[in-house]
């Protein structure tokens, strides 16, 4: 390696090699992926998050929820994502087309949240219940008391505020950030089927049957 231009040219080519494949080719492959128009339902899926839930995604990002929670379900038969009830089907790229910042997560200190909203609805966890959970924490998740404001009850109780056991004069009012985060989490539902979510289910079926 005596020639500097040749050396730098080779470095350039080496980097361009992986860049072309992993950045440019993937972008060409599915960079323009659009929501799927389901004609029987008369709507396009996934549906874009609205208002409060959309802002909640930003709270999810700035609090770094993705440091401990993933939002990606692996296919049935590969690990136990399905058995844990995190999703009936594997997550696909189309599930994320509306996310400005895709936070898949790479550590599972807590459960996967891809279908958290659907699970919450099934178990009867409503916004108030979720706010209590966010305030108190659970297991390895600390509470987030800074998402709430402690205030004196004047006149009627605020409908959204949480009661504090033992002190009837005070209540915990969720901040707009807390409400947005709760709305976002409760909106998480990637249950809709797309054409591409059906074929991959087949190879996994015999394995699921073996159990």
């Amino acid at each position: 390696m005596k020639s500097s231009p040749l050396f730098f040219l080779s470095l350039f080519a080496a980097l361009a090699f992986s860049l072309t494949a992993l950045v440019l080719a993937t972008n060409a492959q599915y960079g323009a992926l659009a929501p799927y128009l389901d004609e029987t339902a008369g709507a396009a899926f996934p549906q874009a998050p609205q208002g409060l839930a959309a802002r909640g995604h930003m709270v999810y990002q700035d609090l770094g929820c993705a440091a401990c929670h993933t939002q990606q379900v692996r296919r049935a038969g590969f690990a136990s994502d399905k058995e844990r009830g995190w999703g009936d089907r594997q997550s696909v790229a189309r599930d994320y087309v509306h996310d400005d910042r895709v936070l898949l997560g790479d550590l599972r200190i807590g459960p996967d949240l891809t279908n958290f909203g659907a699970r919450a609805a099934a178990t009867g966890l409503d916004a108030t219940g979720l706010l209590v959970l966010l305030h108190n924490g659970q297991g390895a998740m600390p509470g987030y008391p800074f998402l709430f404001v402690k205030q004196l009850v004047t006149g009627q109780r605020s409908p959204k505020a949480l009661a504090i056991p033992g002190s009837p004069d005070c209540e915990l009012a969720p901040t707009p950030r807390a409400e947005a985060l709760a709305a976002y989490l409760l909106s998480l539902n990637a249950g809709h089927d797309y054409p591409e979510t059906k074929p991959p289910a087949k190879p996994a079926a015999p394995e699921a049957g073996k159990k």
């Binding site: 730098f8 080779s10 090699f17 992986s18 950045v23 960079g31 323009a32 297991g139 390895a140 800074f146």
Partner: protein, 474 residues
């Protein structure tokens, strides 16, 4: 390796070192400060893993922000500052000429560290991007790019202006990151922050960037040091040196592809993960070449610099092997999304990179400063504490990760039970982190004392007798 005998026509090694003193001591000093800061942040984050309520009452002290801040302080603060210093010094030494553009390098170093300080504060305030290895807020990223380039110019000039056309493995590894980092960093800035790609492409680009950062920026900095220190200190040749070039190009060509292994089973094209798996396995060739070339370092005794480099080399090669094994889908099923993959990263950051660079710092700082290290005891304390800390931290995380991965694969085991099973191993990791912080403080103290005296004019006879530096400093 190439030290030219001092003659009238050629500058002495001491002149080359003197030319680089200011900016390099600044870079190393900043690096050590960031290492201590990252150690404190990492300790808090580590405690929060087994004691979630610890310091959890303020938004800026929550686990996720601590974790992002410690990672950023470590890789952008410690690793880049130290890596650049080592790279510039090696390129000047082996180029056989005094370093040029040192003023620009110093300005770049100052701006790098100022922007980074703002960036880490931004992370704590909630402006983290959410991408691993790329957490810095968008408003400091362009400044960092320019600042890095300003420092790198000195290294590229040293490469171009070298005295001999022939180059050594050390020089290839030292100059590559100067070029690779601005390239991948600017691509990531555009495609993730300023004109973001859509959907899960972001995850693919982020994995590509993180992989390049680790394998093609940090690893080459460290390998440059290892390829220099081994023959220089031990006097032994590099075994099968002919293969070194193959090892280098294998890393450069294949290295960037391996990031896809983190996306196994994820909502991205399957070929991205498959390419990552294949690349991780093919990279074994690179690790084999490095192991064969530098195995001689393992038997070395008596030199702190070499002992550090030897541990770093072991961590590097074993880390590469573990990455290849866990890239296989059947194994990834257990290791993915667990502390096991955290341990893999830390083995390469805290182990491989940091130890090889410690070796280089112990070797080059006395030469830059013109004085030996003030305290051999602090050096021994540093070595003992960081080595035991590394074993405890990475070992603890590996075991915790394996338990966690096995538990996660049994749907009946709930999260409270998993937390209970891994707790003791996470405590071990915290103890390890505390020890490593202690070691960093020993290094910081030793370095401060060394630099404090070197503000006076350097001792001339010291340069004339490099052997003396060798004995006391390495």
């Amino acid at each position: 390796m190439t030290d030219v005998p001092p003659t009238a026509a050629q500058p002495e090694a001491s002149d080359i070192d003197a030319s680089a003193r200011g900016p390099l001591l600044l870079l190393i000093g900043s690096a050590i400060l960031w290492l201590v800061a990252a150690g404190v942040l990492a300790l808090v984050a580590s405690i929060q893993l087994h004691t979630p309520a610890f310091l959890a009452n303020c938004a800026f002290l929550t686990y996720a922000r601590m974790q992002a801040a410690q990672e950023t302080a470590f890789i952008y603060g410690w690793a880049i500052n130290a890596g650049l210093a080592v790279s510039l010094w090696l390129l000047a030494r082996l180029g056989g000429r005094p370093l040029r553009a040192t003023g620009l390098a110093a300005v770049g170093a100052i701006f790098w560290n100022l922007a980074l300080t703002v960036g880490v504060a931004g992370i704590l305030a909630g402006d983290l991007t959410g991408f691993a290895f790329f957490q810095l807020p968008a408003y400091v990223q362009p400044i960092l790019l320019v600042a890095y380039a300003a420092v790198a110019v000195a290294g590229v000039l040293a490469w171009i202006g070298r005295r001999h056309a022939f180059t050594f493995a050390t020089q290839w590894y030292a100059v590559a990151p100067l070029f690779v980092f601005p390239w991948v960093f600017s691509v990531a800035q555009v495609t993730l922050l300023f004109a973001p790609v859509h959907g899960t492409l972001q995850a693919v680009v982020a994995a590509w960037f993180g992989q390049n950062f680790g394998a093609l920026v940090l690893a080459p900095f460290a390998l440059a040091a290892a390829y220099y220190l081994l023959p220089k200190i031990s006097g032994r040749p590099v075994h099968h040196y002919d293969y070194a070039a193959h090892g280098f190009w294998a890393l450069l060509v294949i290295g960037g592809w391996a990031g896809g292994r983190q996306l196994i089973g994820g909502p991205v094209p399957v070929w991205v993960a498959t390419a990552g798996i294949i690349a991780s396995v093919l990279l074994l060739f690179h690790y084999l070449v490095v192991a064969v070339n530098l195995a001689g370092v393992l038997g070395a005794r008596g030199s702190t610099a070499l002992r550090f480099a030897a541990i770093g080399l072991l961590a590097y090669v074993s880390g590469g092997a573990i990455n290849a094994v866990t890239a296989i889908r059947a194994v990834a099923k257990f290791s993915q999304f667990t502390f096991f993959s955290v341990a893999q990263t830390q083995l390469l950051l805290d182990g491989a990179f940091t130890f090889m660079i410690f070796g280089a710092i112990y070797f080059l700082t006395p030469r830059l400063a013109g004085r030996p290290w003030p305290s051999a005891a602090l050096m021994r304390i540093h070595f003992t504490t960081v080595l035991s800390g590394l074993v405890l931290k990475v070992g603890g995380l590996f075991v915790a990760g394996w338990i966690q991965g096995s538990d996660l694969n049994h749907a009946a085991v709930g999260f409270p039970a998993i937390a209970g099973h891994v707790r003791v191993w996470l405590l071990a990791a915290t103890a390890g982190q505390a020890l490593m912080l202690l070691g960093s403080l020993a290094l910081a103290l030793n370095y401060t004392r060394l630099v404090a005296v070197c503000i006076e004019p350097p001792v001339a006879e010291f340069f004339r007798a490099p052997a003396a530096v060798e004995v006391t400093g390495s």
